[in-house]
Symmetry: C2
Subunit: 417 residues, 2 copies
């Protein structure tokens, strides 16, 4: 079965807007074992839109058309689809009543152009829009199925989940089982060398690697035919093998970010955290506090850009900075113990380094970052050399710190058990 997505809207042909709906649609179609063959993006211009519709209907068995269902003159999807299929637009009183009711609830008179949205293509079923005025349409023609959806993601998603998903069961090839393993502490090439022989060769089982500086994700999928669970079993077996090779480097199998993982660990064991940042400039604290409820375990953070702040806030001795420089293992160590003592937290994390693009020297190049973790059982300092932009150095610094904390908590728990 051939499936296509056609996104309509002149704004999608500017440098400013990206079609993100199709990623969501693709993910949900993949869940049914259905792959997308083709995506097209076209503006509101009638001739181009007609051409795109003719092309897509010539190829696809199932076509999703998104956008162009609004009330303005530029919104021409309904008309063009009707025209290409040789059908009429018919007025639907029930839809008009719903649109009127929507405006009435907001105490606004219905603008005249919205009447247009009550016309549907002959033979089509209207799909309810719980978040806006434009109904979607579902229609069959010459053995093909065409689904018209509104462009705004906030309207498209509920309509898809509520009205389209149930109707797609006839196209279902099976269920898609997914696993998402997130890995820290290994490079992409190191992971490749550890797992290359595990990549599945059979159809229906896939592994996609997404590599970011500081984080590698393995997305595994298996198509399971209805009422069979061989796909699921194969996937579980593959995950077990990957665990055997990658071990504790896998920090999540459920899609959690590292800040969520350490948040869960800290909360579960009643532990607290404070951080001291130099080159990461608050980004580590920002990530930690992105987790709702983080105030339960995150006590405080300091960003000590100046040497004075390192001294005043953390008690880093003047002499240590003079002897080793602000970017050094001894300063990282003093920062981690300093913030832990100040906050009286279980753990103290610190980061000092050179984020770039300026400020590097031959001995201390851009990307040189010391990360330290202080706890009951002492301080550990690591020397890192991160590649990339200022942003990427900040991210990798925070990632490394959170990962040091994760491994420490896991190992301490293991020892206690």
């Amino acid at each position: 079965m051939k499936v296509e997505i056609l996104a309509v809207g002149s704004e999608l042909l500017t440098p400013y807007f990206q079609d993100t709906n199709s990623l969501y649609l693709t993910e949900r179609l993949n869940d049914l074992g259905i792959e997308v063959m083709f995506k097209t993006i076209v503006g509101d211009e009638p001739e181009a839109l007609t051409g795109a519709l003719r092309g897509a209907l010539g190829r696809a068995d199932l076509l999703f058309v998104m956008g162009g269902l609004g009330p303005t003159e530029d919104d021409r999807t309904r008309e063009r689809v009707a025209d290409v299929l040789g059908r009429n637009l018919v007025f639907d009183k029930g839809i008009l009543q719903k649109i009127r009711a929507r405006f009435r609830r907001r105490n606004i008179p219905m603008p005249a152009p919205n009447i247009k949205q009550a016309y549907i293509i002959e033979g089509a079923e209207a799909l309810e829009n719980t978040r806006g005025t434009a109904p979607g349409l579902w229609l069959s023609a010459a053995g093909k199925t065409v689904v018209l959806l509104p462009g705004p993601p906030a309207e498209l998603k509920p309509m898809f989940e509520g009205s389209v998903w149930p109707r797609l069961s006839e196209f279902r090839k099976g269920d898609l089982e997914r696993r998402k393993l997130k890995v820290a502490g290994l490079t992409e090439s190191r992971i490749e060398s550890l797992i290359w022989d595990l990549y599945p060769r059979e159809p229906g089982l896939t592994v996609t690697t997404l590599a970011y500086p500081g984080q590698i994700e393995l997305h595994l999928t298996a198509v399971c035919r209805p009422s069979q669970n061989t796909g699921k079993k194969k996937l579980d077996l593959l995950v077990r093998k990957l665990r055997g090779r990658l071990g504790q480097n896998i920090f999540s199998e459920t899609g959690e970010d590292l800040e969520q993982v350490i948040g869960r660990l800290l909360r579960e064991h009643g532990l607290t955290l404070a951080v001291a940042e130099s080159c990461s400039g608050g980004f580590l604290s920002h990530r930690i506090t992105n987790v709702p409820g983080s105030s339960d375990y995150f006590l405080e953070g300091v960003i000590v850009y100046s040497n004075k702040a390192k001294r005043d806030l953390l008690g880093v001795p003047e002499r240590t900075i003079e002897m080793h420089g602000a970017v050094s293992a001894p300063v990282a160590r003093a920062m981690a113990t300093g913030i832990r003592e100040r906050a009286q937290s279980t753990y103290g994390l610190s980061i000092t380094g050179i984020a770039g693009p300026g400020g590097g020297t031959e001995q201390k190049p851009v990307g040189l970052v010391f990360t330290a973790l202080a706890g009951e059982r002492g301080v550990r300092v690591e020397k890192n050399l991160f590649l990339g932009t200022r942003d990427q150095v900040k991210f990798q610094s925070s990632q490394k710190s959170l990962d040091m904390l994760r491994r420490r908590i896991l190992n301490e728990r293991r020892r206690k058990e």
Copy 2:
């Protein structure tokens, strides 16, 4: 002239990868006064790729095909384009030498599959790839121009700038003049009500509004015919009128972010800054330190999630927190003066509020945020009610703080002049 972009690669039909090259290409084409009419995304499957190429060549005068130039079996763009145009692939000894030299420099023997990249379509000019092995191709056929570019953005961009841009001059419709006004402190609908009558109605002059919580951008463009500057003049006039309506709410006309603007102001006038954050959790410091060289004016930041930290680090009186709560104007005030005194900085900024999703009450709902600015001339506290997710509340809190600082510096400078 009809221009199309065709992106090739099966990964672009998964939920994980987005075609971002086309945004860049569109922006550069727009610079020449050329608009994009159509975008297509297709996988590596030969039949679908052939179909997409036939469709695009049937419509477009100028076609960009991106991706599928690599050395593997899946990379079929060269072969399919040659086939659709009825041309042969011919071996180019010079290209092979360049590919070999590239591997030699890295001390790696050239893998056999790379030989494929030395074949070009008959009649095409090779475009040099300074960042990879796959050359691009430029060819004319039946009055149409086809440009083949590699998929990786790091290879595509230098090739476009170095080899494609100079060749595009014949298609140039004029130069595109751009202005980007960034606005803070006004909502989108307030801006609409102030400037609605200024929206240009003549062709060639456009205003696109991009609205984010806390920041509205007005992107203005004018096409100028070669050797005329009427477009530029019209644009300058429009900008002057917008300035008249929006005044100091415009914080940038050059694309600078707010953290860059305040960084420039602080540096120019030899001023320094320190910040104290509660609900924004380090995001304000993160933004400030995203600007390279910010250590020149940013002294320190503290993230005071606990009441103890507010007291110990900033000297916020216990009694003030007890009487008014941690989220209150008096606490915001004490935090701003506290950090300013501690750091001995020109300015102190503070944020305390409820970022959500939990923690709200009827009297202090999610999104309630107090922002304060302390300086020589006293403290100002503002009470805000931000809408949106935790992320959006954090962003708006930081935006409001930076904007308070910007207005203060501008007004103090004006007073001194």
